[in-house]
């Protein structure tokens, strides 16, 4: 019993990480049709900015309130880089989808190389508050606190995103844009502002994933974003492009499947099962679980 609880909660922690990366990807894709390969870069920027802030920023540290400041700095840095990327690189290629994808591909190559050039290729120890290394007893299972922190953060982000999409004017524009971009443009609403906003949101969520992923894994390395990104892509496809809720469901399915199969089968089998799930979903429901509807 305690095994099942532990696996469920660690699986949910993994799912939370996937969801944080996938939510931004899914929104950007739904609105702009851009498959953002540079999303892993935002994650790396968030992780390294948090790591740097914890050591160098006055008022920030690796414990207590200082850690919150460090993470906030990382998230801000991620959002800022995402906005810059959108304004400088993506916007001039408006509605030329293939070129936009190519640019993000080039950016992902160059960006990871830049991180590697600045901080070296080896993983660096990540500053963690002492309490995240402890475990909490849940129904007789000892669950690592870092995983619980991830679950809480993902739940907060999910709630915040849904509230934003449902009750604000810009959320309405984004939902409508995912549904039918031409129509929104025809009504005289500038969708490009919404693009920038969605990039900022996605970058912030990915940077948060980078910072909390650093806490979860205990290290930070330039290639961290790349491996997470592929599973995030899978989550986006299974969940249906452009649907935040679909991403959340798919992330939970993928995370739980991966943890349980890796534990009860051989290691690595879970990753294969996830791709098998993707193939099954594609054959049965090519439009994904939720289809292209940004239902809040």
């Amino acid at each position: 019993m305690s095994d099942v609880v532990l696996l469920t909660l660690t699986g949910l922690g993994l799912a939370a990480l996937y969801f944080l990366v996938a939510s931004g990807l899914s929104l950007v894709f739904g609105l702009a049709d851009v498959l953002n390969f540079a999303h892993g870069l935002f994650l790396g920027v968030g992780a390294y900015a948090t790591w740097w802030a914890a050591g160098n920023l006055p008022g920030a540290g690796s414990d207590g309130f200082g850690f919150v400041v460090a993470v906030a700095f990382g998230v801000l840095a991620g959002a800022l880089v995402a906005v810059l990327v959108e304004l400088v690189l993506i916007r001039p290629l408006y509605s030329r989808t293939i070129e936009q994808v190519l640019v993000t591909v080039g950016l992902s190559l160059a960006g990871v190389a830049l991180l590697q050039a600045t901080w070296g290729a080896d993983p660096r120890p990540f500053p963690r508050p002492a309490w995240t290394r402890d475990v909490t007893g849940v129904l007789g299972a000892n669950v690592p606190n870092a995983g619980l922190l991830l679950i809480v953060a993902a739940a907060v982000v999910l709630g915040g995103l849904l509230a934003f999409l449902r009750w604000t004017r810009y959320g309405l524009v984004i939902r409508a844009g995912v549904e039918n971009r031409e129509m929104v443009t025809a009504l005289g609403i500038d969708v490009r502002k919404a693009f920038t906003l969605v990039f900022a949101l996605g970058g912030a969520a990915a940077a948060l994933a980078g910072a909390l992923g650093g806490v979860y894994f205990g290290t930070v390395s330039p290639g961290q974003g790349g491996s997470l990104l592929i599973f995030a892509f899978i989550v986006v496809v299974i969940g249906g492009m452009g649907s935040v809720v679909g991403s959340a469901y798919a992330a939970v399915a993928v995370g739980l499947l991966q943890q349980f199969v890796n534990y009860y089968g051989t290691s690595g089998l879970g990753d294969l099962c996830v791709v098998g799930l993707l193939a099954a979903v594609l054959l049965l429901r090519p439009q994904g679980l939720a289809g292209k509807v940004a239902h809040a």
Binding site: V105, G106, S267
Partner: protein, 369 residues
């Protein structure tokens, strides 16, 4: 899920605006043949090209680098059959290349088969794999297709890294067991034979790709790239044509894998990474997608730059620069990625489009006495 729009290639320049025929016009059809002959006799030259290659042209190190460049020229040309000529954005092309490399390596080293059997089995296996996975992946279109092929390729990377039954050697890779190989392909002294093998592979791929794109099937593929619905309206099944292109490109990539395995004498896990597919995409875009020679040139140039920039990045010239310059410059991928982004912006047609773009400039220069 909207269909992503793929830009059509620029229209042909009408005759009255076209540059006058130069004196080279009669020779042009034979230039590829001349290039092939020149490439074939390169190993007989002992020329030293300081700054370009480290040793004389016929030294094994230089020949191996050239052979790898040629193989990647062929790979890029095969990938362009998907991207530039059919408009399919696949992010999983590395999988079929890796199938060729690891297939050959495992069958020779672990199963002890003779090389020709192993190579045939690996190429057949890679082609069948491409047909099966393509049949599933092609149920999606556009960006979803890109993600699905990426996920399938990731399975290959996981299988290689997890090292099931100790077949693949995991992170260390798997050196090729050369004891059963034909002696002409083994040893440093015989690098020249591998170079010719790579050249033959490149010639084969270029020949196949050109024949296919010139055939009626190739016209359908170009039609799929420009407007898939129209092909459907004409009564042709887009799915079947796309699957044929996907399978053919996969088979060509597996053949390249066999050659690459012989050149580097083994397999290493980095060839299964998605980064390899991304670099194929970079090669094609740098060279010029959908053009006759662009992808080949792009592939050769990319691999050469990748190799030389690694050497350049650790040279004294770079190390003496201030830190904010020398660190990024020591990463070949940073330089290549930046060049690629600039290429997407400033010459979308790739290297091969430069001639047409520079034409006005050249004519003004020629007019001056």
């Amino acid at each position: 899920m909207t269909n992503s729009v793929v830009e059509a290639p620029p229209a042909q320049v009408p005759d009255e605006l076209a540059p006058g025929h130069s004196r080279w016009h009669g020779v042009r059809p034979f230039l590829p043949l001349v290039a092939l002959v020149v490439a074939a006799i390169v190993p007989y030259s002992t020329a030293n090209l300081p700054g370009i290659f480290e040793g004389p042209l016929n030294s094994p190190g230089t020949l191996q680098l050239l052979a790898i460049c040629l193989v990647f020229g062929g790979l890029a040309a095969g990938y362009d059959l998907l991207f530039g000529r059919t408009g399919m954005l696949s992010f999983g092309h590395a999988l079929y290349f890796a199938a060729g490399v690891y297939g050959t390596d495992i069958l020779v080293t672990r199963a002890g088969l003779p090389l020709w059997q192993a190579a045939l089995l690996a190429i057949t296996g890679g082609t069948i794999l491409a047909a099966l996975l393509g049949a599933v992946a092609l149920r999606t279109v556009g960006i979803a297709f890109a993600m699905v092929t990426l996920a399938f390729a990731q399975v290959g990377a996981i299988l290689v890294a997890r090292d099931f039954y100790g077949w693949t050697g995991g992170e260390e890779g798997l050196p090729l067991d050369v004891s059963g190989l034909p002696p002409a392909l083994v040893g440093v002294a015989n690098t020249v034979n591998l170079y010719w093998l790579a050249l033959a592979y490149l010639a084969l791929v270029v020949f196949v790709v050109h024949r296919v794109s010139g055939s009626p099937t190739g016209r359908v593929l170009a039609g799929l790239r420009d407007d898939e619905r129209r092909i459907g309206v004409l009564g042709l099944d887009p799915y079947r044509f796309k699957l044929v292109a996907f399978t053919l490109a996969g088979g060509l990539a597996s053949a390249g894998g066999v050659v690459y395995c012989l050149i580097v004498g083994g397999a290493s896990p980095h060839i299964t990474s998605s980064e390899l597919t991304l670099s194929l995409l970079v090669m094609v875009v740098l060279g010029g997608p959908g053009t006759r020679w662009g992808p080949v040139l792009g592939g050769i140039l990319y691999m050469y730059l990748d190799h030389r920039l690694t050497a350049f990045g650790t040279s004294d010239a770079v190390n003496n620069l201030p830190a904010f310059l020398s660190h990024p410059l020591s990463q070949p991928l940073f330089v290549l990625g930046t060049v690629f982004i600039l290429a997407v912006y400033f010459f979308p047609g790739g290297l091969t489009s430069l001639r047409t773009r520079l034409h006005p400039l050249l004519t003004t220069l020629h007019r001056r006495p």
